[in-house]
């Protein structure tokens, strides 16, 4: 397998960045990893995961959709879309890599979302196998192998080198473009490292989390569960879970008057907010119970009902780490589980 010594990775980044924008996880001043555009001096972080998920690359927090110019009774519609330039994301973990396919199901199904597709098509995704999964990880519950993260190029480390394996045509082109820096390497150490990671994965506290009690056929039973009241009771409706979630895909569309015209943009929204479903004649989800239930029913029942049984969660654990009241999907699943 082709590899590069870890201490030489900056050379590879420099080569890639000559032609395309390159984004890598890098520690910010608070010590949290965030995807950062690479330039000389930006250091790769081997942190388990980035603070915000990688969905931002394809589904940014806000984006402009269309412009309007108003004059008297007339309206001019201005299509502001531009072809995105090619870019590379390096170091995507298996959970985030899987989340792209969950978003694809929504945004690439008819009618295709051209904004999302544009970015997706121009991105090369280079994943990174996990070596130190943490106690908040539960990707294996959703059938994800953290040692085989996929992407266009799958990357893994044995502690001294990064190994590269192309998984798609785009991935092959990437490897060809940096082959001058790569050399053939023995994977014995890498196989050992992966075996060790698998041992850790099997011993994680959430390794036994089961999805048996969830799915499309459990809709009525789960919706009517009397557990929702207790589970949602202390929810602050802050929406943090939604914002750090790699699979949360809901958006709002708003207009902004720039003084020279109207910008129509979309931005992330959250089903945890009271005005998400509020209409002139009322609100079908009146209390936080209904809104809280919606978020988890969507991931565990509605999404699988619409997309061949695939769950709308990848077990990245961000919501476990970030919820201010320590409520999360794992607690919800355990409470609703039928044993």
């Amino acid at each position: 397998m082709l590899k590069i010594a870890i201490e030489k990775i900056d050379e590879l980044f420099a080569l890639v960045a000559q032609n395309q924008a390159l984004y890598i996880p890098s520690d910010n001043k608070d010590g949290a990893a965030e995807y950062t555009r690479w330039s000389e001096g930006v250091k790769y972080s081997n942190a388990l995961n980035t603070l915000r998920s990688a969905k931002d690359f394809f589904f940014p927090q806000t984006e402009d959709l269309v412009d309007f110019k108003m004059s008297g009774k007339n309206i001019e519609i201005i299509d502001i879309r531009k072809e995105t330039e090619d870019f590379v994301i390096f170091g995507v973990r298996a959970c985030d890599a899987k989340s792209f396919f969950i978003l694809d199901n929504v945004y690439l199904s008819e009618p295709v979302d051209s904004y999302y597709k544009n970015r997706r098509e121009h991105a090369t995704v280079i994943t990174m196998a996990c070596s130190k999964p943490s106690e908040t990880c539960f990707c294996s519950a959703f059938g994800i192998d953290a040692t085989q993260p996929g992407g266009d190029v799958e990357c893994a480390s044995d502690g001294t080198s990064f190994f590269f394996e192309a998984k798609t045509e785009k991935g092959k082109a990437f490897i060809d473009s940096v082959s001058s820096l790569l050399s053939d390497g023995d994977t014995a150490e890498l196989d050992n490292a992966k075996a060790k990671t698998k041992e850790i994965l099997a011993k994680l506290p959430l390794a036994e989390l089961s999805t048996e009690s969830f799915g499309a056929d459990k809709l009525t039973e789960l919706f009517n569960s009397d557990k929702w009241a207790g589970l949602s009771e202390s929810c602050l409706a802050c929406g943090t879970c939604t914002f750090v979630c790699p699979t949360c895909q809901c958006y709002d569309i708003k207009d902004f008057d720039t003084g020279h015209g109207i910008k129509r943009y979309r931005c992330w929204d959250s089903c945890m907010y009271s005005d998400f479903t509020k209409m002139a004649h009322g609100n079908p989800r009146l209390t936080q119970l209904e809104r809280f239930r919606q978020r988890f029913m969507h991931k565990l029942v509605y999404y699988p009902a619409n997309y061949d049984g695939v769950f709308g969660c990848v077990g990245c654990g961000r919501c476990l780490a970030k919820c201010p009241i320590s409520m999360n999907i794992v607690k919800v699943m355990k409470a609703l589980e039928v044993k």
Partner: protein, 275 residues
């Protein structure tokens, strides 16, 4: 880049009809003339005044109308108030059509039809009623039960008395909530009126109106002997995208904008009661 459904088309308002104190019907054509797009009865469109708002409205005109589309809109919020203040010649943005339609070419064909509407709930049904009138041979008898708060709140009143009531094979039953000077028709709420009329249980029912009216009318229909599989309705929830992606108009695993807005009651009953 391909067209994106989120980028709207231009429309021009060529006629504004005052239906009731709070309902106006707007005629919309493309700037070049003619309809902006084709639709089927029951489908909806997103209308917008940029900078004011964008919202989903049912298309009240029938697709058999080849010249224009119409929207009957009740004044109840920010955007609708703006629409009520605008004048003929105003451009709007429009995108669609969205959602499924009443199954006029399949399940409803050859059936005796009973339309039940309350208030502005007539708007989506008017599209079906006029489609049926224009394809009369394809359907059996037509009965329309329509009720409103007062005579002045009956939407499309002129069309009802001048056209629908003069059609052969169409029975129109109007009712208003309270007695009113100049009204010698029926007085009372729609659910009770439907029971009094004792419609034949062989009919297929299309119902739209305030949720409370639908609830009691459906209960009454069941008492008479109607099955849920015979009754269709059309739903409305808050929407942003119109294509099942923005995530807010779902009832269970169904998006009203995409899988609806038309549902049969047996289908609706399989979904959580969250609408």
């Amino acid at each position: 880049m391909n067209n994106d459904t989120l980028i709207p088309h231009l429309g021009v308002v060529t006629d504004i009809r005052i239906d009731t104190p709070d309902v106006k019907t707007f005629r919309v054509v493309s700037p070049e003339g003619g309809k902006v797009f084709e639709h089927m009865p029951g489908q909806c469109a997103m209308l917008s005044i940029p900078g004011v708002g964008e919202a989903m409205f049912s298309i009240t005109s029938s697709p058999t109308n080849k010249e224009f589309m119409e929207f009957s809109i009740k004044k109840c919020g920010c955007l609708t108030s703006w629409l009520h203040m605008m004048e003929v010649g105003q451009q709007v943005t429009i995108r669609g059509p969205y959602g499924n339609a009443f199954p006029v070419e399949t399940e409803l064909k050859g059936k005796d039809l009973l339309f039940i509407a309350g208030g502005i709930g007539l708007a989506p049904l008017r599209s079906v009623i006029n489609y049926v009138r224009d394809n009369r041979a394809n359907y059996g008898s037509v009965q329309i039960v329509y009720g409103s708060r007062s005579k002045d709140d009956l939407v499309d009143y002129q069309e009802i008395i001048n056209e629908w009531m003069n059609d052969d094979g169409i029975e129109v039953n109007l009712t208003i909530d309270n007695p009113q000077e100049g009204w010698d028709g029926h007085v009372g709420f729609v659910p009770n009126y439907v029971k009094e009329l004792e419609p034949s249980t062989s009919k297929t029912v299309l119902i739209c109106g305030p949720p409370i009216m639908i609830k009691f009318t459906l209960a009454g229909l069941k008492e008479i002997g109607f099955q849920e599989t015979q009754v269709y309705t059309t739903m409305e929830l808050r929407m942003k995208c119109g294509v099942g992606k923005c995530g807010r108009c779902n009832i269970g695993d169904k998006y009203v904008c995409k899988h609806g807005p038309v549902f049969r009651f047996d289908q609706l009953n399989e979904l959580p009661n969250e609408y």
